[in-house]
């Protein structure tokens, strides 16, 4: 398991991290995205969508209510949010993992709520408020070979 910790001074930096990462993604990649309300999870996905080639005129909005949003970039981006789910069994009904297998990128917010259901191979991103001062902290962890490669490539670009 490899890791990377970054300081993001403002929301623009969060979006930039997303955009850089988005350029590196390949079909089948899975990202887990966790952190408290207001930490910047949706902002990161907004950057990621641009990096994946989703046109700037397409608003990338929070999937909390709809549970899953779908965007068309150079490959499909599936943006899911488990905040409102009550049990892991609902994940099957949503068809989340099939989405990624169908050749898209899958980003899942609040994945940590259902650790037993999380795909073992993924890039896990934790966003947090720093103990003091402005901005956010991002902690990225690569689980599996592909995620480790992704993390190495990202470290070179930052």
């Amino acid at each position: 398991m490899s890791g990377l910790t970054l300081h993001l001074p403002d929301v623009a930096a969060t979006r930039r991290l997303g955009r850089t990462l988005g350029r590196l993604l390949q079909p089948g990649d899975v990202l887990g995205l966790d952190g408290p309300l207001g930490a910047g999870k949706t902002s990161l996905v907004q950057g990621l969508a641009r990096g994946l080639g989703v046109p700037a005129r397409v608003p990338v909005t929070s999937p909390t209510f709809t549970l899953l949003c779908e965007y068309q970039g150079r490959m499909p981006l599936y943006h899911a949010d488990l905040y409102r789910l009550r049990e892991a069994a609902e994940l099957g009904e949503l068809g989340l993992w099939e989405a990624a297998e169908a050749g898209g990128v899958l980003v899942v917010e609040w994945l940590a709520r259902f650790p037993e259901a999380a795909p073992p191979e993924r890039l896990q991103i934790e966003l947090a408020f720093p103990p003091s001062g402005p901005g956010r902290q991002a902690h990225l962890t690569g689980r599996g070979r592909r995620a480790a490669e992704l993390l190495q490539a990202l470290a070179l670009l930052l």
């Binding site: 929070s62 209510f65 009904e93 949503l94 068809g95 408020f129």
Partner: protein, 345 residues
């Protein structure tokens, strides 16, 4: 023409029977949603959340109840309307396939409806015997719910122009998430509305978002949520006065943005100006927002319309209304009608 309508795009499984009035409104003969009281005998009279989103389990009981409440059988139905998107395909397909099967088996015309079109037309729903006049066209619709926030020019039934939309969180989502930060539970939007009445809207400084010239008629509520998170870094407030002040300040900031953008839309150059203001979506239940929009409409000399709360939240009667007008115009779906996760209005 009596319409059976079915909806399962998000949390609710819903079914309704509606009939047209002469003036474009529809009479709601029955209107059943899966979360309503008495719908879940099989779970032992259980809490609504348990049944929510279990569309497959809900669809037949909800359908049977809707027909029974309307006092009709399928032989007295003349058309079927189903929500075809946007939403989770796995969820949407339940009501869509049920509706398709009924239409096929009974040889009835079938039509697919956009979920948001349903919300926009909620002000055209009437209980039997009610005969308030409907909103005139063209009008401006402000649709605010948990999943959506948008300003739409409604030219006529079936003719919509989206003028602005949220760039991040929907207004209802911001309410519910801030309620969680305030320790009011989730979803706690209504609790904020209640407490806001007891607090000072100017007690806390919160950002007034989306003011720049490039912001146009779009909304953004995520910065407001983050600002509240900063105020609440140490946890939910223990002091009642502080809690009420935070609720009032937050609600004022959300309402200010919604009203400002709505007013901006009403003052833009339009060949035929809008003749009414129509509020819809679950957040339309918020009393602060209702009052502020009513004021705005009065100020601009426009009539103001908002559906009763039960038709502002997700329901199938609104899908029946939109579906009826599509069928009336001759629109028919064929048997290839499918659910669409993303769907432009």
């Amino acid at each position: 023409m009596r319409i059976l309508s079915l909806e399962s795009s998000c949390d609710e499984t819903a079914c309704a029977v509606v009939e047209p009035n002469q003036d474009g409104t529809v009479r709601v003969l029955s209107d059943v949603v899966s979360s309503q009281a008495g719908m879940h005998g099989r779970f032992g009279g259980v809490v609504p959340e348990i049944a929510s989103r279990h569309h497959l389990l809900n669809i037949i009981p909800v359908l049977e109840r809707a027909l029974a409440d309307a006092g009709v059988g399928l032989d007295r139905i003349d058309g079927v309307a189903v929500t075809r998107g946007p939403g989770l395909v796995g969820a949407l397909l339940v009501a869509l396939q049920a509706g398709k099967a009924i239409a096929y088996a009974r040889g009835l015309p079938l039509v697919g409806v956009h979920h948001l079109e349903g919300h926009l037309l909620a002000a055209f729903l009437r209980a039997p015997g009610e005969n308030d006049p409907p909103p005139p066209f063209p009008h401006l619709g402000l649709l605010v719910s948990g999943g959506h926030s948008c300003l739409v020019r409604v030219e006529d039934f079936g003719r919509y122009q989206v003028l602005g939309t949220t760039r991040d969180d929907a207004a209802g989502e911001a309410f519910d998430k801030v309620a969680k930060l305030l320790g009011l539970g989730y979803p706690g939007g209504p609790a904020i509305d209640q407490l806001a009445g007891q607090g000072s809207p100017t007690a806390f400084r919160l950002p007034r978002a989306m003011r720049g010239p490039r912001a146009g008629l779009d909304f953004s509520f995520s910065g407001l949520k983050t600002a509240m998170a900063a105020h609440l870094a140490a946890g939910p407030p223990q002091d009642k006065k502080r809690l009420a002040d935070l609720c009032a300040s937050f609600q004022a900031a959300v309402v200010e943005q919604l009203v400002r953008k709505t007013e901006l839309a009403l003052t833009r150059k339009a060949e035929t100006p809008e003749r009414a203001l129509v509020l819809s979506g679950g957040v339309a239940c918020n009393r602060g927002l209702r009052a502020a929009l009513r004021d705005l409409a009065n100020r601009r000399g426009l009539p103001f319309f908002v559906a009763p709360p039960r038709w502002c939240t997700d329901n199938a009667a609104m899908i029946g209304c939109a579906g009826y007008h599509r069928l009336r115009r001759g629109e028919r779906a064929d048997w290839t009608l499918n659910a669409a996760a993303s769907l432009p209005l």
